[in-house]
């Protein structure tokens, strides 16, 4: 077990005298043998059954759910909730035996779309189900096509607070009438992903992908712990690969100098990168201090196990040649963060009609995407702008852009590319 996770730090530890801002990228990979014991798995589906889903969407969603239930391995558990103004527990937690699957399929057949959208009630229903299996891999999938009811804003925040740490949830928006920011809030808080399913026909393939990913998870409730020296301040802590997720505000202080960030469940061969920015009290030339000690800890049945550790250093020097060098990994992910930000602000500006600003920001995004090898994002950008010169970042806004393309770019803008680990 001790070799199951590997952590490596990439940084330029040299700082000029008088400064104390340390940047470091930590890459963590879960090895082959993270399987501690055969895990129980509980997979929950939360499907929108509000009136707007009526027609093709609910038919496709029902078919996708039925397909998913059929595919569940017999040793997993599952439950189904449909949601409108209220949540309806269509199928409570059950083992995926052929009999239970038959019962679930019959229940799916009966689902009808009507009513509004109050996601807080759906989450609450899921919370009750997930509480019954606290040691299992707990993954939910939320599908909706519309915006959450305006009166549900604060109940939703409360429900999210409640559900945090109880289960993880991937969110999918079908069609183009939903709000990216809204679903991203839910997914981020519940350590899941957000994505768009432009047409109902694509629901099934997407569901299968999520199920496969959930089945691959072997270690749950993994936390990232960061120790910092006296007087230091964590300026930010972000997951930067495979997606940008700002964890800065998510920390829990265990004791002074030691804070913990949730990272959820990990599967074998999974790899993630984190970017730390720590401000330490500045030292004298020649001093060497530990600016941070980052470790991964997972808890199973109340027992904590530390699985990987990495050290972030600060060494003060008067050699400008050393201190002015920016580590390649740090530079790369700083660029990827800027890329995501340029896209989000650029799309905002375009929506407001500020074409000059949108052109500048999206042009910059095209330039970063090209130079950093983020082909997936570059391709999405080409749906929104005509690229004149990618290297210089010269673009023209497209006159007509489909809403799907613009939303796809917005939801996927946080996905980052990796670079090879040579330093």
């Amino acid at each position: 077990m001790s070799d199951a996770f590997k952590a490596e730090v990439f940084q330029n530890e040299f700082l000029p005298a008088g400064t104390g801002e340390v940047h470091a990228i930590m890459t963590v990979s879960a090895g082959e043998d993270v399987t501690a014991a055969p895990r129980e798995r509980l997979f929950g589906i939360l499907c929108d059954s509000s009136g707007s889903m009526d027609g093709g969407k609910i038919v496709a969603a029902k078919a996708a759910m039925a397909k998913l239930v059929t595919m569940l391995p017999v040793d997993t558990h599952f439950f189904l909730v449909t949601g409108s103004d209220e949540a309806r527990l269509v199928c409570p937690v059950a083992r995926a035996t052929p009999e239970n699957k038959q019962r679930a399929l019959a229940a799916i057949h009966e689902i009808r779309a009507a009513g509004g959208t109050k996601i807080s009630n759906w989450l609450h229903s899921a919370w009750q189900q997930f509480r019954s299996m606290p040691n299992a891999v707990r993954q939910a999938l939320l599908l909706t096509d519309g915006q959450n009811d305006v009166t549900d804003e604060s109940p939703l925040q409360e429900a999210l607070h409640h559900c945090e740490g109880v289960f993880q949830c991937d969110c999918r928006g079908v069609g183009t009438d939903w709000k990216v920011a809204q679903l991203r809030t839910i997914a981020t808080k519940l350590l899941g992903t957000t994505d768009i399913i432009p047409t109902p026909a694509q629901i099934e393939a997407d569901f299968q992908g999520i199920l496969q990913k959930a089945l691959g998870k072997t270690v749950v409730d993994v936390a990232l712990r960061l120790w910092t020296p006296l007087g230091a301040k964590v300026k930010f802590c972000k997951e930067v690969s495979p997606e940008i997720v700002d964890l800065t505000g998510r920390s829990r202080e265990l004791k002074p100098q030691l804070r913990e960030y949730p990272t959820g469940a990990w599967g074998k061969d999974e790899s993630r990168d984190f970017h730390f920015c720590i401000e330490v009290p500045s030292g004298a030339v020649g001093d060497e201090v530990l600016a941070g000690r980052a470790s991964l800890v997972y808890t199973m049945q109340g027992v904590e196990t530390k699985v990987a550790e990495a050290r972030i250093l600060a060494v003060w020097t008067d050699d400008d040649g050393k201190s002015t060098k920016i580590n390649r990994m740090v530079a790369h992910y700083t660029g990827q963060t800027e890329l995501a930000q340029s896209i989000q602000e650029g799309l905002d500006a375009r929506a407001r009609g500020d074409d000059d600003k949108a052109t500048a920001l999206l042009g910059k995004a095209v330039q970063i995407a090209a130079s950093s090898g983020n082909d997936a994002t570059a391709k999405l950008l080409r749906q929104v702008v005509d690229v004149v010169d990618a290297d210089k970042g010269t673009v023209r806004l497209k006159q007509s852009v489909s809403k799907e393309d613009s939303m796809a770019l917005e939801t996927r803008s946080t996905k980052t590319a990796r670079i090879s680990k040579t330093n």
Partner: protein, 240 residues
């Protein structure tokens, strides 16, 4: 244990960088062999061989001898006056004298000497598991942080510290009143394997949920769970 001296004067729990301020620790840890060989005079200040600090350190476990003149190490029970004679494990309780005592006499102690060999092979994580709370048990404390300890010695005592009876277990479970002062022993055998023995504890000991027979050695493996008292859980881990 607070065994490493930071250049800025903190007691560091880590050997590489200070666990308080992060400063790099240049010197060897205080429990190095050099200090082990030093004389063990009765009063602490007089030895003063260390230039870094006047605090004497336990030759067995490296813990600082905070209270001058104290007879036994507060952490491991080392007898400062008589050196290795009393050994790493305090004498067994009267009612269970036979077995552990013979272990202590014949066994590792004579060979252990001043520098006990390190057994980095095993570590345990001690925690309070609220799920173990039975119907008659009091509420478990919520402020106990799980702690991982390396089994550094051939014999490790699990129990509850008692100053009156001079019992200082290596694995102290102060928070659980249903744990006996001398509850159980973890011993590393000649092949590096780990054995668990309940030494006549009032409330028994469970290995992976099953009550074990007292005064009999039970092999323990990587990942095994020992539960005892109201809600104490000890997870065993093999460290390679």
């Amino acid at each position: 244990m607070d065994a490493y001296n930071c250049p800025k004067g903190h007691n560091s729990q880590d050997s590489d960088y200070c666990s308080e301020c992060g400063a790099k620790i240049q010197a060897a840890p205080a429990s190095s062999a050099a200090e082990d060989a030093g004389p063990f005079s009765g009063s602490s200040g007089s030895s003063g061989s260390s230039s870094r600090s006047a605090v004497e350190h336990c030759p067995s476990c490296g813990a600082p001898r905070d209270t001058p003149g104290i007879a036994f190490c507060e952490i491991c029970g080392w007898d400062f006056a008589n050196g290795p004679a009393t050994g790493a494990v305090p004498a067994a309780p009267p009612e269970t004298e036979a077995a552990p005592a013979s272990e202590a006499d014949s066994g590792p102690d004579s060979t252990v000497g001043l520098a006990p060999p390190q057994f980095p092979g095993w570590s345990v994580t001690v925690s309070v598991d609220a799920l173990l709370t039975g119907s008659g048990s009091p509420q478990p404390p919520s402020d106990v942080v799980p702690q991982t300890l390396a089994l550094a010695k051939p014999v490790t005592l699990i129990g509850r510290r008692s100053d009156v009876r001079a019992i200082y277990p290596e694995i102290p479970l102060q928070f659980d009143d249903a744990v006996s002062h001398r509850h159980a022993l973890l011993q590393i055998d000649a092949n590096g394997g780990l054995l668990l023995r309940d030494i006549g504890a009032a409330n028994g000991t469970r290995l992976n949920g099953r009550e074990i027979e007292p005064m009999v050695d039970h092999p323990v493996h990587d990942g095994d769970q020992i539960t005892l008292g109201y809600w104490s859980r000890i997870a065993v881990k093999a460290v390679s």
